[in-house]
């Protein structure tokens, strides 16, 4: 499978934030979800790919070419939707279409009209008067109308009602029916990824802590529930985060079958959800007086 996007050792820092040595591939024919909390670096990563920000180091290859050198030409093949799309406030949807059309060689007027109809975009209302959901749909329609090979979507479903969200996600699935296309979209709504993503990359505080095929990731991790004795045994070394509550511990641990042999009596092993991976990975627990040394989740930056 060819990678439409390859990111290697990408770094960028400003102020107290740093995106640290990110490696990521987006294969053709897949939807890759970039998930993380607000401020994790999702938007920064997408801006770096697009060339909106210059990286401090590393490489971004788009369609096999250096994105820094050939950015202008490569952007012909990219559709971008920014978080809370801000376009020219006083322009109406058809004017926005005419405006964007003139930039792209492969603009497809029929697709644009179809999407305007599908999304029921109002044709006579200025962009500034559109609701957040309709703005997002307008931006999506613009991004999808020039036959882009790679869609970069920055939180496309945030602020959308469930019906529209589903429409948008279905549309993404429709896009990748063409095996030569791919979608990279950032979100903090893990249920969106559950529904459509083939690959998942999890960002935490600028670090890419997990990346890979969604099902493989879910199969590679386990959620262990039990008492305080969980941390006393060999399980501790395999844990990457957890939470302490009144009823005991919940730990996110690497592995599945191998863990079963390490479980103390009464402990339970469960398959985590994507939300569990995002939530528990690197989550530190408060120090319990009964434990000898304080335990902290470990957040490795390199995979």
């Amino acid at each position: 499978m060819t990678n439409l996007l390859e990111i290697r050792n990408l770094t960028k820092s400003f102020g107290t934030f740093a995106l640290q040595r990110v490696d990521l591939d987006v294969p053709a024919g897949t939807i890759t979800g970039l998930v993380g909390a607000n401020g994790a670096g999702k938007s920064t990563l997408i801006k770096l790919v697009l060339g909106l920000l210059p990286p401090d180091g590393g490489e971004v290859n788009l369609f096999g070419q250096d994105a820094l050198k050939h950015g202008q030409a490569l952007r012909q093949r990219i559709g971008f939707v920014q978080e809370s799309p801000t376009l020219y406030a006083h322009l109406r949807v058809p004017e926005l279409g005419r405006m964007v059309a003139s930039f792209y060689n492969a603009w497809n007027e029929a697709t644009w009209r179809r999407l305007c109809g599908l999304f029921e975009l109002p044709l006579k209302t200025p962009f500034s008067k559109l609701s957040q959901g309709t703005r997002m749909k307008t931006a999506l329609a613009l991004a999808l109308s020039h036959e882009a090979d790679l869609l970069l979507l920055d939180e496309p479903t945030s602020g959308l009602d469930p019906l529209v969200r589903r429409e948008v996600l279905d549309l993404l699935l429709e896009v990748i029916q063409d095996e030569g296309k791919a979608v990279l979209f950032s979100t903090h709504i893990t249920s969106d990824l559950d529904r459509v993503a083939d690959h998942v990359a999890i960002l935490k505080s600028g670090c890419l802590v997990m990346a890979g095929a969604k099902d493989e990731l879910l199969d590679a991790w386990s959620l262990v529930k039990g008492g305080e004795d969980l941390l006393a045994g060999p399980l501790r070394d395999r844990c990457r985060g957890g939470q302490r509550s009144d009823v005991g511990l919940t730990l996110l641990c690497e592995g599945t079958e191998v863990l079963e042999k390490m479980l103390p009596p009464g402990a339970l092993l469960e398959r985590p959800s994507l939300e569990d991976l995002v939530y528990f990975h690197g989550r530190e627990m408060s120090i319990h007086p009964s434990q000898g040394t304080p335990w902290q989740g470990e957040v490795p930056c390199s995979l």
């Binding site: 400003f14 060339g51 909106l52 030409a73 801000t86 020219y88 930039f103």
Partner: protein, 246 residues
């Protein structure tokens, strides 16, 4: 570049349509100014109209955080800057052409009531156009160096500082007199006028090159569109002269 100019046309056409009631009223004022044949009145109304249009065209895009969207399109940053210069100058040309054409039409329709623009009024208008072009060439590098909010603030502070320096140097009326003398000299002496025009053109080219160069190194100015609240906060932060970070 063509696509950017087309974009500028779509945006400005809509803007001008939105402002059309006011523009029509002001075009009426321009025609009214032609009634008594006073050259100064004609040139002032002409200049005011042209300045208004130039400001609208130049500021469009700076009032909204659309930079991320524009830069995500398949264009280079140099093209973005070049298109902004070109659209500002074309806007200025349209700003002069519209009242001139309206005035000409009004004169042709009612020659006994509306005077044609005098040669003197046109000359003064030409001087104003040169000054306006100079203003655009001075303004845009500030925007591309510091971002809309800080750039606008720095540009305004520069104008205020220049005015204050002139006041301190030449006195209260000395500045006005120096400006008028400069204009008169330009109108009287062709070589001097050509020298000034050449000087402004060179300044324009340098301004464009600087803007292109500095915009390539600019991180992002999106998220800080030009607004009064942003200007206020920029002033409150006492304007540290560094490029804006988002």
């Amino acid at each position: 570049m063509l696509a950017l100019m087309r974009t500028a046309w779509i945006i400005n056409r809509r803007l001008l349509l939105q402002f059309s009631p006011w523009l029509l009223v002001y075009l009426g004022v321009v025609v009214f100014g032609q009634c008594d044949g006073d050259s100064l009145k004609m040139s002032l109304s002409l200049t005011f109209f042209a300045t208004l249009i130039t400001v609208i065209v130049t500021l469009q895009g700076l009032l909204l955080p659309v930079e991320d969207f524009i830069l995500s399109l398949p264009i280079s940053r140099a093209q973005v800057v070049g298109a902004k210069y070109l659209s500002s100058l074309l806007g200025m040309a349209a700003g002069f052409a519209l009242p001139l054409l309206t005035g000409l039409l009004a004169h042709l329709l009612a020659p006994s009531h509306v005077h044609a623009f005098s040669a003197e009024a046109l000359s003064i208008g030409g001087l104003a156009a040169l000054g306006l072009a100079f203003g655009v060439f001075l303004f845009l590098p500030f925007i591309y160096q510091f971002g809309p909010t800080r750039g606008f603030t720095c540009f305004s502070l520069t104008l205020v500082a220049a005015f204050a320096a002139c006041l301190a140097w030449k006195g209260r009326w000395g500045c006005t007199k120096a400006l008028l003398d400069f204009g008169s000299h330009m109108l009287e002496s062709r070589p001097f006028a050509f020298t000034v025009i050449a000087g402004v053109s060179v300044f324009g080219v340098l301004s464009l090159l600087f803007s292109i160069w500095t915009y390539r190194h600019m991180v992002a100015i999106g998220g800080h569109p030009l607004s009064f609240s942003n200007i206020r906060s920029a002033l409150a932060r006492s304007v540290s002269l560094r490029p804006q970070k988002f």
